[in-house]
Symmetry: D3
Subunit: 308 residues, 6 copies
C-alpha cells in the first residue's frame, strides 16, 4: 500500500472493494433486497420465554405460588408469542410463496401460525416430561428431576428440538433452524428440526450427536454422545444440483439403544429393541432385536501410535 | 380452536392446559414445593470469581501490582464465597437428609462448607498449575503459559472440574454438576464432578471427551478429543431401577496416553504407561506398557461410501 | 482449621497461601511482570465488527440501503480496526522479539499490522463467499444463502478461521489463537489458525472437527463432523522438549471428501478427488482417486454391549 | 508523603486511616452493626413496577390487549410486591421498635404491610387520575392525557408521592423517603412523604417546589414552580435538640392557587379559594378568598444591578 | 380484607379493581385504543445520536480523524434519523388529523418529516455554536469551549431545545415535549418547545428557569437561574375550558439580561438592552434600555425569621 | 431539497454541511486536534467508587464484616484511583501549561496527583461526617444517620463538592467541574468546585442553590433551597473580555443561616451568626449577628394576580 498516508487506514479503498464484492454476490443471489432478517437474539429470548412458560418453577420467576403462577405464565406466553409472531413474519418472507405477499397479509398469517403454535405447547410439554423421565430412568448418575431439567444437555437440546419441530411443521423452517443451531452451539447436539422423534427420548452426554432431517425415531430410544443418524453419499444426484428433501436418514424403531460414536447412514431401519454398539459404522437395515458391535482391535506393546 | 376470537391468542385455554400438565408431574415427583433453585447465572459468576482469585493477573482486574493484588484477591474471595454459600444452601435443600432442616441451621452448614472449600483453593491452584505445565510440555503448538491459560479448552474444563470435584466431595453434588455442565457447554468436554483426576492432566482439543462419575485417573495422563471413559451397559440391573453410584468407569494409571476417539468402558484398568490408539473400542483391562490400536481399514477406489 | 473464629472465612490465610502459590510459578515462568493481556471480550467484539463489515446486510445494522451502507461499513471498519490495533499491540508484547520494544514503536507496528489486515478483508470476503456457495452446493438440506450465512456452524467457524489465519500470517499468533478458540467454543470445530485452507471449503455439522497447525487443504474439499487432521505421536522428539512448528499434519488435495469421524494423522497426502469413509483411522498417504473405508463390523443378537 | 515508594498508592495507610475514621463514627452512632440497607436501585424498580401496574397501557408492556392486560398487571403486581416486601423488611429494621424483632416475625410483618399496600393501589390510582385531569384542566399548553401522563414532572412527582405517602402511613418512613428523593432528583419537586394532599392537585413546571412533612393540602389546589410550604425557624426549641414531628407546615384549603416562587411558612392556614401571588413571602394565615401579592418594584435606567 | 388467605397477596381483587378503574378513565378519554406510544428511552437515544452527529469530537466515538469522521457522522445520522422517523410516526398518530390515516401513509409522512429535520441540522449546529460562544463570553468562570460543551447545563438544555423546537415547528409537538422534559429532568431548565429563541442565548446555572410556549427571545440574551418567562392568570377564560395556544408569554428583545429569580409574566415586551434585576416580579412592558430591580429589604438584629 | 430521491435521507449533503460547520469552529478555537476527552461515565464511576470507599457499609458491597471490609476498601480504592489517574491525565492536557508535555511525563504527573488525592480521603471523610451530623442536628424531620446518608440531596451534593474541591486545588479544574455538574444534575444544587466550605455545612432541600467559584463559607453554616451566593454584574470589565478568577462571591462567616430563596451577590461579608431571611436580595455586607428579611407584601381580595 505505497500511497496511503502514514496515519490512515486506507478506508476508502477497502470500503469500495467490499462494495464491489457485495455487488457481485448480490447480483447472482439476491435479485430483491433483503429487508428484515430474523434475529438470533430475539430467537434466544423466545426460546427462553417458552421454556419459562413450560417450566415456570424451574425457569420462570422465583417464588411463584399457586396464586401467582398463572399470571406469570399468561403474561410470559403473551409477550413471547408476540415476539415469535414478528420473527415468523420475517422468516416467512424468505419462502418463495410469500416473497410478494402484502405486508398486512403476511403479518396476519404470522399471527395465526404463532397462535396455532401456542395451542401445541401443552402437548410439547407432555413430550418433554417423558424425555425427562427417560433420563431419570436411563442414567445411573441422575439424582432427581431438578438436576435433569437444569443440567442435562440432552434435555436442553430436546426442548429446542420439540419447539423447532413444531415450527418446522407449521411451515417456518428458517426459524426452526435458528432454534436448532442455538442448541447445537450450547450442547454439541445437532438435530435437524425436520427429524421426527417419539416420546421418552434420551440423549446422554450428547456432544457430537447428529440427527438428520428425515430421520424417524420411535419411543423410548436412547442414544449416547457422537452418534450420527445421517445420509449416505449423494453421488447419483450429481448432474449439477442435489435433490433436496427426499427420505435419506435412518428409521429407528422403539426401544433401540445406540452407543457412543455409532454412525448409521441412509434410509435404513433399525428394528425395534436393537442395540447398536459404540463406534459402529452401519449402512444397512437390521431386524428387530439385533445386536451390532465393532470388529476386533489390535493389541501389542507400546510403539508408533498416532495422535489427534 | 374454532371458537377463539380473531385477534386473540386463546391464552386462557393454554394457561389452563399447562397448569393441568404441571399438576400431573408435580403430584408424582415433587410432594413438597420447591422454593429456591440454584441459579446458573450465579454459578457462572462464582466460577469467574474463583478463577480471578486463583489467577488474578490473567483473569482478575487489569494492572494489579504487588501493592494491590492481595486486596483484590481478598475482596474477590469474600464476595465469591458469600455467593457460593448462598448457592450451596439452595443445593443442600435438595438432598434428602436436609429436606427438613431449619433454615438457620442449613445456612450455617452452607457457610461452613463454603469456608472449608475456600481453604482448599491453594491446593486446587497447585493442581491447575501442574495441568498447565503438562499442556506446555505436551503440545508442540503451545507458545507460552499465557496462551495455555487463556486459550486452551482443556485447561478451562479442568479449572471447572477441580472446583466442581471439591464441591462434590464436600457434599454438594448438584452445584458441582452445574459447574460441570457450564464447562461442557463451553468446551464440549464432559467430566462428571465425581471423577478423580491426578495432577498434570492434559486434554488436547477436547471436544467430545466424556469422563464418567467413578473414573480414576493417575498422574501425567494425556487424552485427546472424543475420548470416552464410560460405563458398560446396565442390562443386569433392570429389575426396575438402576443401581446408582457403584464403581463402573475405568481406572487409568499414571503416564497413560489415550488418542482421539478411543472409547474405554467399564471398571477396567489401563496399566501405567500404556498407549491407547485413536478410535479404539476397549472393554477390558490392559497391563502396564500396553499398546492398543484399531484393526485394519479397507482401501480401494472411489465408490459407494457413506456420509455423516 | 481449628483456630478460625466462628463467623470468619479465614481469608488472611487463604490470601497468603495463594500469594505463595503465585510467587512460585511466576519465579520460574514470568521473570517480567505481565501488564496488559489481550482481552477475550475485546476479541469477540472485533470479530463481530469484522463480520458486520464483511456482511452488513446479514450481520450489520438493520435497514441499510445503498445510500447508507458505505457509511456503516466505513465507520464499523474504523472502530473495529482501532480496537484490533490495541489488541495486536498487547499480543505482540508476548513475542520474544518485541519483549523490550519501546511502547511507541510497538504501537506503530500494531497500527501497521492492523492496517495491512484491513486491506486483506475484501480477499477474505471472497473466500468466505466461496465457502458459502460450497455449503449451498454440498448440503441437500440447505434452503438459501441466508440460512447458510446465519445458521451454519461450519461457515461461522470458517469466518473465524480466515480472519485468524490472516492475523497468524501477519505475525500475531496469540490473537489468532483467541479467535480460533472463540469459534471452537461456539461450534465444536477446532481449526488451528496456522492451517492453510483453499476456497470452497465446506464443513457439515462440524462438532468435533480438528484441523492441525500445519495442515494444508486444497480447493472444494468437504469434511463432516468429528474429522481429525492431526499429528502422529512425537516419541522421537522426547529428549526433553518437543520440537515445535515442523510440518506434521496432513495435506489434503483438491476435491477430497472426508466423512464423519475419520482420523488422518501425520504429514501424509490425501490425493486429489479421494473419498475417505467415516470413522476411518488413516496414517499413510493415499493416491488421487482413492476410496478408503472402515473394516467389517460384527453383528449378532442383543447381548453385553458397552455404552459411553 | 516522603516514604511511599515511587509506584505505589500508599494504600495501606489510607485504608488504615479510613478504618480509624469509620470506627470513630460508628462507636458513637451505630452500637449495632447494620446488615442490609434498603436498596435505591430496588426502590426505583419497585416504583417502575407499580407505575406499570397502575397505568399498563402507558408504562407497561407494549401491545397489551383486553385478553392480556390482566395477566400483565397480575404478574407485575406480584413480582413488585415481593420486591417491596423485602425492602420493607430492611427498612423496618431501622425503627427502634423492630430493632430486636426475630427475622421470621419481621418478614411476616413486612409481607403484611406490602399486602395492605397492594389493596390501596386502586384508590391511589383514582387520586392520580384526578391529578392528571387537574393538569389537563389547568394548563393551556396541555394537548391530551397521554402527554400529561408521560411528560409532566408534576404528575411524575405526585405518582411517587401518593405511593410514598401510603407507605409512610403504613409505618415505613425510610422507604417512603427513598421514593420521595428519587422523584426529587428527577423533577426538582421535593414533597415530604408525610404531607397530606387532596385529590386533583396540580404542580406546573415544578422545579424547586418544597412541601413539608406536616403540610395539609385540600382539593383542587394548584401550585407553580419554586413554591415552598415550609416551617418557620425553630429558635425556641434550641435547648440542644430539635422537637421532631410537631405540626409546623401550612394548611392549604380547597381551590387555592399559589404562583411561582411563593414561600409560605409555619402552621398557617391559606383559606379556601385564595390566590397567593408569585415570589410572596407569607408567614401568617389568610382568610378564604384572599389575594396576596408582592410589594412594589423599583424601575429606572440600566445601572449597577447584581447577577446570580 | 378479612377473607384473604394467609400467604396470598389478594391479587385477584386488586387486578379486578384496577381494571375497573382503567375502564372508567378510558371510557371518557380514549374512545380508540392506543397502540404504540413514543418511547422515552428511544427519544433519549435519538438525542444522544443527534448530539454525537453534531459534535462528533466531543460526543461521538473516541479517536475520530479526518479520514474517519464523515463515516461516523453519516452512519450515526442514518441510524438516528431512522429511529426518529419511527417515533415521529407514533407521535403523529396522537394528532386528531392523523387519527385515521392509513399506516403506510403515516409512515411515509414520518419519513419525510425526519428527512426535513435532518436537513436542518447544520443550521441548528450553527445556533448552538453561537450559544456556546455566548457562554464563553458571558461567564468569567469558563475556561474553554470543551468545558462549556461538556459541563454547562444551559448548553445541554439549549441543545435539547433547538432540536425540540425544530420538531415542534415540523408538526410533532408530543415528541418535542419529550425532548424538553428529558432536559428539564437533567438540568432543572424547563423551556417549552414552542418558545422562539434567537442566537447567542446563554443560561447560567439554570436550575428553575421556565420559558413558556409563546415566549419570543431575541439575540444575545442572558438569563440566570430561576428566571420565569410565564403567563399571567387565565381567570377570564374560565367558562369551562382554557383557551389554548394564544400568545401569553413575554417578548424579550436583543441584548437583554435577566438576573436570578426574576419572574416576568404575560405578553409584555422587555425592550432591547434592558437589565432585569434578581427576584423581580414584572407583569408589564418596559422600554429599551430599562433597568428594573427589587424594592427595599428590611434589616435588623437576629429575631423571628422564617425558614423553608 | 427538491432533487433528493424519494427514499433517501440526503445524507451526503448533511454530512458535508456539518463538516463545513465543524471546520469553521475548529479553525478559530482548536488549532490542535483534541484526542481524548475526560469521560462523564468514567467520572460517575469514580465518584461512586470513592463514595463506596468512604462509606463502605452504606455504599459498598453488602454484608461487609470486620474481616473483609479492608480488602473491599483497599481494592475499591486502587481500582478507583487508577481510573481517576487516567481521567486526570486527559484533563491535564487541556491546561495550557501541559499542552505539549510528553505523554509519559503527563501520565506520571497524573499518577502523582491521584496518589496525593488518595491521601486526602480520610480528611475528606471527616468533613463529610461533620456535614451529616449537622443535617441530623438541623432538620427536625431527620430520623437517623442512615436516612441522611442515603436520602439527603445536600449530603449527596457535598460529597461531590468535597471531592471536587480537592481535585480543583490539586490543579485539575476540568475534572472537578465534571463532578460538580453530575451532582448539580442529580440534586439541583450547583456548587462551583472552587468554593471553600468549612465543616458542618447543611443544605436543606437544596434545589436551586448556587454557590460561586470564590465564595468562602465558615463552620456550621446552614442554607435552604434556592439560595444564591453569586457575583454582581461585570459591567466594568467590558472592554472585550471578562476578567476571570478574581474574588467576586460572598464570604459567609461561622454559624450563619440563610433561608430559602435568598440571593447574596458580590464580595460581601455576612457576619458571624447572622440570619438572612427567605427571598431576600442582598448586595452589601452585614455585621455579625444581623437579621435581614424581605420588605412588606401587599394583601387584598382575589383579583388579577400573575402565574408562572
Amino acid at each position: 500500500m505505497p500511497n496511503v498516508p502514514a496515519h490512515s487506514w486506507g478506508l476508502e479503498q477497502i470500503v469500495a472493494d467490499l462494495r464491489a464484492s457485495r455487488e457481485e454476490l448480490h447480483r447472482t443471489r439476491h435479485p430483491l433486497g433483503i429487508r428484515e432478517l430474523p434475529s438470533r437474539d430475539a430467537v434466544i429470548n423466545i426460546v427462553a420465554g417458552l421454556r419459562a412458560a413450560l417450566f415456570p418453577t424451574h425457569y420462570g420467576a422465583p417464588d411463584l405460588t399457586d396464586e401467582t403462577v398463572d399470571y406469570y405464565v399468561g403474561h410470559t406466553l403473551e409477550s413471547t408469542l408476540r415476539l415469535l409472531a414478528e420473527q415468523i413474519r420475517r422468516a416467512l418472507r424468505f419462502l418463495p410463496e410469500f416473497g410478494a405477499t402484502p405486508d398486512a397479509e403476511l403479518k396476519a398469517r404470522a399471527f395465526n401460525v404463532a397462535r396455532e403454535f401456542g395451542t401445541q405447547l401443552p402437548a410439547i410439554r407432555a413430550l418433554l416430561v417423558s424425555d425427562i423421565q427417560a433420563a431419570f430412568t436411563g442414567d445411573p448418575a441422575a439424582q432427581h428431576i431438578t438436576e435433569i431439567l437444569l443440567c442435562y444437555p440432552g434435555v436442553w437440546a430436546m426442548t429446542h428440538h420439540r419447539l423447532a419441530h413444531a415450527l418446522h411443521r407449521l411451515g417456518v423452517p428458517l426459524l426452526a433452524r435458528f432454534i436448532n443451531e442455538i442448541a447445537h452451539s450450547a450442547t454439541g447436539i445437532d438435530i435437524h428440526p425436520g427429524a421426527t422423534i417419539g416420546p421418552s427420548f434420551f440423549i446422554d452426554h450428547g456432544t457430537g450427536v447428529v440427527i438428520g432431517e428425515t430421520a424417524i425415531i420411535g419411543e423410548r430410544v436412547r442414544v449416547y454422545q457422537a452418534v450420527t443418524l445421517g445420509a449416505k453419499s449423494f453421488a447419483a444426484d450429481l448432474d449439477g444440483t442435489l435433490i433436496k428433501g427426499n427420505a435419506r436418514h435412518p428409521i429407528v424403531e422403539d426401544d433401540v439403544v445406540i452407543y457412543a460414536g455409532a454412525t448409521i447412514l441412509g434410509r435404513v431401519t433399525i428394528g425395534r429393541g436393537s442395540v447398536i454398539g459404540g463406534n459402529v459404522w452401519l449402512t444397512h437395515s437390521v431386524p428387530p432385536g439385533s445386536s451390532v458391535s465393532q470388529g476386533k482391535i489390535r493389541e501389542g506393546e507400546r510403539g508408533d501410535e498416532g495422535r489427534g
